[in-house]
């Protein structure tokens, strides 16, 4: 591909520009077709070949013969040309190796997987956040509790069936202790309410997430180990309508503003009046579907006004500990509680509660 290099007609800038512009044009023309190794090699030889490459010829014909005062201007333009040739070769190489026919953008992206937040942690965090926004503090307490905090102070009568070992998991060798000091696995997070009220004077607003245990048979929807989030709001003049408004607001925050709540009379030893709360089905909007057993409603919460007997037990304990009683008849409050597993199962379509505690990554990784 050897060819003659024309003589330069002069060494002024305009002439040089014109001559090099013509060469740059040839480089660009050649650069357009450099997708194969062979084409690139030919291009390289044609321009950069040691003996017959054009640059060599140009150098011989123009640079070496140029007068000293023109050498700088020529040299600069010569280097620009060389850079352009090399760039053409490089981009031709990249284009051929990386794209070939173009990116297959349907291939999976390269991911750096973050770890998964456990769905129960996630659900508890979300519920807790709703109440934190309402000015609630987070409370926690031990999983091994005494009968006093788990039952007695919560107004469970001495022979209440919940106290039976058929319902409650107990620590070994408790028989010789006084009843209220016996150690057991807390069956709800409510003991934290008692601990908090004994420690603090009203006003009090607490949201209490935690792990609890009951001596239940395992099946698809029951586990002896499960989690609860409870809440407690105590002040002067806290009313049943405040309880309703708070939970209605919380359910709307959690499940969307279209959700409606419905309250039913219920019974818990530690609240009175007590209520069960249903929300309108978040799947069908209340029309009735399989998830809500065609009722349009899903039961989600237990709640009620704190029973005066609970306040009395708290004050009694405060006196025993040398503190001032603080939960007299001017004080009222409400408490509520919900099962975390139940909410997570409903939200994420989980049908086997055991999956939560299995550590099965095939399950957990779906929450990524």
């Amino acid at each position: 591909m050897s060819e003659q290099i024309p003589q330069l007609s002069g060494h002024d800038d305009a002439t040089l520009d014109q001559a090099f512009a013509a060469l740059q044009k040839q480089v660009r023309a050649g650069a357009a077709a450099l997708s194969t190794d062979e084409a690139r090699e030919n291009f390289r030889l044609a321009w950069l070949g040691r003996k017959q490459g054009r640059l060599k010829l140009i150098s011989d014909a123009w640079l070496k013969t140029a007068p000293v005062e023109a050498k700088k201007a020529l040299g600069q333009r010569f280097n620009q040309l060389k850079t352009a040739i090399e760039a053409a070769l490089e981009s031709g190489h990249q284009a051929s190796t990386s794209a070939g026919p173009g990116l297959d953008i349907t291939l999976p992206g390269i991911r750096r997987a973050a770890g998964v937040e456990h769905p129960l942690t996630r659900t508890m965090r979300e519920v807790v956040a709703v109440f934190e926004a309402l000015g609630y503090s987070v409370g926690i307490g031990p999983e091994v509790e005494t009968d006093f905090y788990n039952f007695e102070a919560l107004n469970f009568p001495p022979n209440h069936p919940a106290r039976d070992t058929q319902d409650t998991l107990v620590i070994a060798d408790q028989e010789k202790k006084p009843g209220r000091e016996r150690l057991l696995m807390r069956t709800h997070t409510s003991p934290v309410q008692i601990r908090s009220m004994i420690a603090q004077e009203p006003p009090l607003r607490l949201v209490i997430p935690g792990k609890v245990h009951r001596n239940d048979e395992s099946d698809a929807t029951h586990s002896p180990i499960f989690h609860q989030v409870e809440g407690l709001c105590v002040d002067t003049n806290i009313t049943f309508s405040d309880l309703k408004g708070t939970l209605d607001h919380a359910m709307k925050s959690l499940f969307g503003s279209a959700v409606k709540t419905r309250f039913f009379p219920s019974f818990f030893p530690f609240t009175e009046p007590s209520a069960d709360v249903q929300i309108s089905c978040i799947f069908c909007g209340g029309k009735g579907c399989r998830k809500c057993k065609h009722s349009g409603w899903i039961e989600l919460l237990g709640c009620g006004m704190v029973d005066p007997a609970v306040f009395a037990a708290v004050d009694q304990r405060r006196i025993e500990l040398g503190r001032e009683p603080a939960y007299g008849s001017n004080i009222s409050g409400f408490a509520f509680g919900m099962g975390v597993e139940r909410i997570a199962m409903m939200l994420y379509g989980i049908s086997d509660i055991g999956l939560f505690y299995s550590g099965d990554l095939r399950f957990l990784e779906q929450f990524a």
Partner: protein, 691 residues
């Protein structure tokens, strides 16, 4: 329990709402209708009534609720009966006055025993109640109507007075179901002068039962002590309609009404004739604890203060309070203060004891959903849990590095607990869920190990898991509970030019721990290879110390442990005392402005003996105190098993040193001088610079 709406409506002549509306209104007031089925004449309601409302588990009880809800009149139950005629009828003697508070008896003669017909037969068919004979069916019909159990004896089998007494130890009694029971002194019997006739409150006796040939009847309606009936019912494994009611507290005042009701029906449907007045023996001490309980004080301002705002505007008025409570059977007597009452409680509502119980009744009958949704005013501050941020940091940091959170069982088998926490004591459970859950977990490691193994056996290729949860030590008298953090991993270690694939997993876990600890303000973090716990393979793990205190340990699971789990590949496990981290302040980043001058990188290649550790090399360089030294790090470590490129017992190290000044561009001579000092220091450690 089932309810027929057409029966219900007999007591509620003014009831206008549809059966379906009635079902919903009852349900929203805690008298739950679970199912509504059409039957001839009306609907059958399947009820689900909580055990504290045993008074509402019958037609009249449900009717009373409806009357209160709709503010309509409730017909009196004994309207249709003959007027009461109480006096010296059949002789009755209550010997066990602590267990039997009331006993009524009425003789009815010349009855005709035959199968039931008419309304009783129809309603039994609709309710699925088994018919027996007209006389016995009348007692069951009475039970369904008003919830008070009654019994009919064949009068001609009785020998002398009725005696209500404790059974004699070993006394035999054949019951209606044909079974023969051996009684104890804990059982209460209805007897005559010679023999036991019936197990009181539970089941009648065989020998005194009404048969096809019975001519004369003695009607019994009584009130028995709940605890006594519960004991008998449990002891003999007999759960009957009667025991169900008596166990939960029957209506003391209902006994004579029920007796008159049965008598009235025996006259009407069995053509019987009452003989003499009804005997009614009352134990006043029991009456005082049931039907004649002391009045309780109720203040309408308290009702309003506790219940708050209604959708009808304002609060519940005293008029409504009076109306609802009267409808439920209370009588309200005004007290001296305005809006306050002395309330006499109905004999059938033993669940009502305190003012708050009455407030609940007011709210319930008014309807929970007719209260407004208000929010309490905000007062008081918010106390954050002291370690809330630390807990979140642990979780978020580990997750960001690809670790998945797990939640495990709170319990472990004693064997597993001891394997992983030999130095701790595990607290045994009194009633463990199963053999695998005999103790409270003293460590999270056994749970993490079995979860990893389970994932391996499910063909999950890689696993990175952590758990932040409570562990328990101490003994059964004093349990210590502390937060712990476990980590467990297997599969595809992070690729690295400085550690071999075999060691990769260990270093990935180490790196994770380093990154986690870097989130906290800790004066020092140290890793030590000595005194490893037994679950770590010898020489394949490290202990972690922060500020010279033991934080935990991590390393490759010992082969014996791995075999037990049938683990096919290397597992790295670790556990740290999370309480230390939760109590440590989080590091607050202190920012230094980046230097505006260029950094100089130099790579140095050295051979070192295997005995020289990175810590020695790193310290040697840092001990030169070169002010411009920004970083020194290993870029590549290479050993040659064949001893060709690198001699056996040595390794080659490619070290990258970065120098940068804050106030000037470093001159070549300065860089060369610093690098020369580093080379000299490394040579003093025994390093040979590669050509």
């Amino acid at each position: 329990m089932n309810i027929l709406t057409h029966w219900l409506r007999e007591y509620l002549p003014a009831l206008e709402v549809s059966d379906r509306q009635l079902a919903e209104d009852l349900t929203l007031r805690g008298i739950a209708v679970e199912g509504v089925h059409e039957v001839a004449g009306g609907h059958l309601f399947e009820m689900d009534i909580t055990t504290n409302r045993v008074d509402a588990m019958n037609h009249y009880g449900v009717a009373r609720e409806a009357a209160a809800i709709y503010n309509i009149p409730l017909r009196k139950l004994d309207d249709e009966c003959a007027p009461a005629n109480v006096g010296a009828g059949y002789p009755v003697r209550i010997e066990a006055a602590d267990l039997c508070g009331r006993f009524t008896a009425q003789i009815v003669r010349n009855v005709t025993i035959a199968p039931s017909t008419g309304i009783i037969a129809e309603r039994f068919a609709q309710l699925g109640q088994k018919p027996i004979s007209n006389a016995v069916d009348i007692t069951n019909y009475t039970w369904l109507a008003m919830g008070h159990p009654t019994h009919v004896f064949d009068l001609d089998t009785l020998e002398g007075s009725i005696v209500v007494r404790r059974a004699r130890e070993g006394e035999k009694l054949r019951l209606l179901d044909g079974s023969e029971k051996t009684l104890t002194a804990d059982d209460l019997v209805v007897a005559d002068e010679k023999k036991a006739l019936a197990l009181a409150g539970v089941m009648g006796g065989w020998d005194s039962r009404v048969t096809d040939t019975t001519k004369n009847i003695l009607v019994e309606a009584a009130w028995f002590d709940p605890a006594a009936i519960r004991r008998s019912s449990r002891c003999h494994g007999l759960h009957t309609d009667a025991s169900h009611r008596f166990e939960r507290g029957a209506d003391f005042a209902a006994a004579p009404v029920a007796n008159r009701y049965v008598t009235h029906k025996l006259v009407e449907l069995c053509s019987g004739t009452p003989d003499g007045p009804m005997t009614d023996v009352v134990i006043p001490e029991v009456e005082a604890k049931t039907a004649n309980r002391p009045r309780i004080a109720l203040s309408s301002p308290t009702v309003q203060r506790l219940l708050g705002t209604t959708l009808d505007g304002g609060e519940i008025s005293p008029v409504l309070i009076e109306q609802y409570l009267e409808a439920l059977g209370c009588s309200l007597h005004p007290a001296s203060e305005v809006g306050c009452y002395e309330v006499k409680l109905p004999s059938w509502r033993l669940d009502l004891e305190r003012e708050i119980d009455l407030i609940e009744e007011v709210a319930r009958v008014y309807g929970y959903n007719r209260f407004a949704d208000t929010l309490p005013g905000f007062s008081g501050g918010v106390d954050s849990l002291p370690h809330r941020a630390q807990e979140e940091t642990i979780r978020n940091t580990l997750r960001a590095m690809g670790w998945n959170e797990v939640i495990g069982s709170t319990f472990a088998s004693e064997e597993d607990a001891m394997l992983f926490a030999a130095q701790r004591t595990a607290v045994p459970m009194g009633n463990p869920l199963n053999a695998e859950a005999g103790v409270l977990r003293p460590t999270l490691l056994s749970g993490a190990a079995s979860m990893l193994a389970a994932n391996m056996h499910r063909d999950v290729r890689t696993a990175r898991i952590f758990e932040l949860g409570a562990v328990f030590t101490g003994d059964t008298q004093q349990v210590q509970e502390a937060q712990s953090l476990s980590m467990g991993a297997y599969g595809s270690p992070a690729a690295s030019a400085i550690v071999s694939a075999k060691d990769g997993l260990f270093f990935e876990v180490k790196g994770t721990i380093e990154a986690l600890l870097a989130q906290f303000e800790l004066k020092s973090v140290e890793f030590r290879a000595d005194s490893l716990p037994p679950w770590i393979a010898p020489g394949r793990g490290a202990r972690v110390l922060v500020e010279s205190k033991e934080l935990g340990a991590f390393g490759e699971l010992d082969a014996a442990y791995a075999d037990r789990l049938k683990a096919r590949e290397t597992i790295v496990l670790g556990e740290m005392d999370a309480a230390v981290l939760l109590a440590s302040p989080l590091r607050v980043p202190l920012v230094r402005e980046p230097s505006r001058f260029q950094a100089v990188e130099r790579d140095l290649s050295f051979f070192f003996a295997d005995t020289v550790t990175w810590d020695q090399i790193n310290s040697a360089v840092h001990n030169l105190h070169i002010a411009e030294l920004t970083s020194v790090e290993p870029r590549e470590i290479y050993r040659d098993a064949k001893g060709k490129a690198v001699a056996i017992g040595e390794y080659s190290l490619l070290l990258r040193v970065v120098l940068q000044a804050r106030d000037r561009t470093l001159r070549e001579e300065e860089v060369a001088a610093s690098i020369e000092r580093i080379i000299t220091a490394l040579k003093e450690l025994g390093g040979r610079q590669r050509a």
